[in-house]
């Protein structure tokens, strides 16, 4: 909508908007200000950048399997590990979710509804309970290994590995990838696909030159909605990773529990800045290279 100047906005419109404005200020803006405030202050609420520098400089030693020790930057390492797992699960969600969204969007209406319900049903359950369920499924003595044992295979050691953490993330966040892509594909004008075929495109070409670029907004919001919660998750890694994969979310939680609010806020703040920058870059790149023509 074009901004027509606040003075011309009808009073009723502004009145209707008021509760949401209050909500946004109270529960989005104010907490963000608090996070920033805590990140840049010490325990006496005096200004400091120490919390920020600590994130980048804190070091610790890791004992390798052969007994040798390596010195690493603790939080940078944790962040990179979180990023890696989050990116992998986002990619898995994308490559599984896009075809599914496409098939769904082109299916008969009844099939679409059924598929939608099947995707939604797990979301009706609390996400902690779902994660617990995966724990029992993946355990060395769990259902999968039980079945594998019966046919003389396994046991497969999954719990406590990166695979288990990624599996948990993909399972929990998959719907957030499928739904935005689906909603874009479902309302795509089919005449555009006919126009592309009319202008000489085979099926692959139609996909590459029309469907993919036009569904980019869905892909971007899907990626955003999967990447951000998976990069900051702490519960999944604790339960399915047996606590072996300390992620950035775990770090924030740990500092918070240790009553180290200022450093927890600093980690959260840095994470936020990095994510915002990444999203801005993603938007810019797609606008420039997907929408700006070939």
């Amino acid at each position: 909508m074009k901004s027509s100047g606040a003075s011309r906005t009808p009073v009723t419109y502004r009145a209707a908007l008021a509760p949401y404005s209050v909500w946004s200020v109270l529960f989005v803006l104010v907490p963000l200000i608090f996070v920033a405030f805590y990140a840049f202050t010490d325990n006496d609420f005096a200004f400091t950048t120490e919390n920020i520098t600590r994130f980048f400089t804190a070091k610790s030693n890791i004992v390798g399997e052969d007994g040798s020790t390596t010195e690493v930057r603790t939080y940078v390492l944790i962040f990179m590990r979180s990023l890696k797992l989050a990116v992998i699960s986002t990619l898995v969600c994308l490559f599984m979710g896009y075809p599914m969204a496409y098939i769904m969007a082109r299916a008969k209406e009844k099939t679409q509804k059924t598929m939608m319900t099947l995707i939604m049903i797990p979301m009706w359950m609390n996400f902690l309970i779902r994660t617990y369920a995966w724990m029992t499924i993946l355990q060395d003595t769990g259902i999968i290994n039980g079945l594998l044992g019966k046919i003389g295979l396994g046991p497969l050691h999954v719990i406590g590995t990166e695979t288990a953490v990624i599996l948990g993330m993909v399972y929990d966040y998959f719907p957030y990838m499928v739904l935005p892509i689906y909603s874009i594909l479902a309302k795509m004008d089919l005449k555009l696909l006919e126009a592309a075929r009319d202008l000489g495109c085979g099926s692959l070409s139609v996909l590459r030159r029309v469907i993919l670029p036009l569904s980019m907004p869905g892909v971007i919001s899907g990626v955003t909605m999967v990447l951000i919660p998976s990069i900051s998750t702490f519960y999944i890694s604790q339960k399915l990773g047996n606590g072996k994969f300390f992620l950035i979310g775990d770090a924030i939680e740990g500092q918070y529990i240790a009553n180290n609010l200022h450093f927890a806020a600093a980690i959260a703040f840095i994470l936020m800045v990095i994510l915002l920058a990444a999203m801005a870059l993603l938007k810019y790149v797609t606008a420039r290279f997907v929408y700006g023509g070939d």
Partner: protein, 372 residues
């Protein structure tokens, strides 16, 4: 002229509903041909079969003598201007027009030249970098035409391309399209439900109804010599009156025997008589061949449109002379104002203006557009 498209015994049904019923049609090279009919007559389906977006249930499609039933759209030498343009919203004007050329891996420099030439032809030079979503309807229309024509197709299919434009713009685009067709020499197959549009643009008109071709001919043929009541009513306004052909050149209707120019009917054969509203002369009652009472008069700008009750049958008469509601008038008809048609299944369905009202006509027209 060489045949470029031949449709042979094409039938097509959707969900058991017959849309095309054993239809055959030859389309010649370099021709501006219009498929004209009300919505649901099968004209768009015919176009989609030629474009390759539908395949006929039975019958064959030939392109320059070669059967193309199984050739997918992207391999046909045919391009389409879609009803609502279907421009790619993620591409600017240049890239929309260049879309087909890029697909064929035409060298960049050549693409640039061709696209620029095409944009110039549709009077959109300087719009290359604009987003298509920022263009007006008429401009989008031109981009759609340029996007199709730049590929130098043998045939251009146009599916009600002017339907979404306002009247003034529509008239301009009609002229423009006709000019482009003349200059490029590409066969245009144009689909419309607007008979005026069809008359003013086409070399050949194909009038369709209920999945069948009713008549093929030049605009003047179709207007002056409609073959049945459907065509007479659909193309322009017509009074269609029951008559009896007494002998060659002699027809009786409205209780009077008229001279006419038609021959070849059986003696005393019942026929449909078509009188165009503008061909009727109003005279004093005592001088009239038949008489009637004016029941309503509408001022239309250039002429008056009068509804006249002649023995219970209501005629529409268009005249530049003043007429008054309630007046008793005489009517005379020159022999060349009378056109005789054989009886058909459409006889008696059209051509009586008893229930006529401009408002209703407009209502049904806009409904048709909404459907389309």
């Amino acid at each position: 002229m060489e045949k470029i498209i031949e449709l042979k015994n094409i039938s097509k049904a959707f969900d058991g509903e017959v849309v095309l019923d054993n239809m055959s049609l030859d389309i010649h090279d370099n021709e501006f041909i219009t498929l004209l009919g009300p919505s649901g007559c099968g004209k768009t389906t015919t176009l989609r079969i030629i474009g390759g977006f539908e395949s006929p249930d039975s019958g064959d499609v030939y392109f320059m003598g070669e059967r193309i039933n199984d050739i997918p759209p992207h391999k046909r030498h045919v391009n389409t201007v879609f009803q609502r343009y279907a421009l790619f919203p993620h591409l600017n004007v240049f890239d929309n027009v260049a879309f087909g050329l890029k697909e064929r891996r035409v060298p960049k420099q050549e693409i640039k030249e061709k696209v620029e030439r095409m944009l110039k032809m549709v009077m959109l030079s300087g719009f290359a970098d604009r987003r298509v979503t920022s263009l007006s309807g008429g401009q989008q229309q031109r981009v759609a035409i340029a996007r199709a024509l730049v590929n130098e197709p043998k045939i251009l299919l146009l599916d009600e391309p002017l339907g979404a434009l306002d009247l003034k713009l529509r008239k301009d685009m009609q002229q423009e399209l006709k000019k482009i067709q003349k200059n490029t020499g590409i066969t245009f197959i144009f689909v419309t439900h607007d008979q005026e549009e069809a008359l003013s643009m086409s070399d050949t008109i194909v009038v369709m109804s209920e999945g069948k071709i009713q008549q093929i001919g030049s605009p003047t043929d179709i207007y002056n010599e409609p073959v049945n009541a459907f065509v007479a009513d659909f193309i322009g306004e017509s009074n269609i009156i029951d008559g009896v052909m007494l002998a060659d050149y002699r027809v009786r209707f409205g209780g009077h025997v008229f001279d006419c120019l038609d021959t070849g009917f059986g003696e005393n054969e019942p026929v449909d008589v078509v009188i165009r509203p503008e061909d009727v002369d109003i005279v004093a009652p005592e001088k009239g061949m038949i008489c009637g009472n004016v029941t309503s008069v509408t001022f239309m700008g250039v002429h008056n449109e009068a509804i006249v009750d002649v023995g219970g049958f209501k005629w529409m008469i268009q005249t530049t002379d003043p007429v008054e509601e309630g007046a008793h008038i005489g009517i005379t008809l020159e022999p060349d104002a009378i056109h005789i048609m054989k009886k058909s299944k459409y006889s008696g369905m059209f051509g009586d203006y008893s229930s006529y009202s401009n408002e209703l006509e407009e209502l049904s027209n806009s409904e048709e557009e909404a459907e389309a």
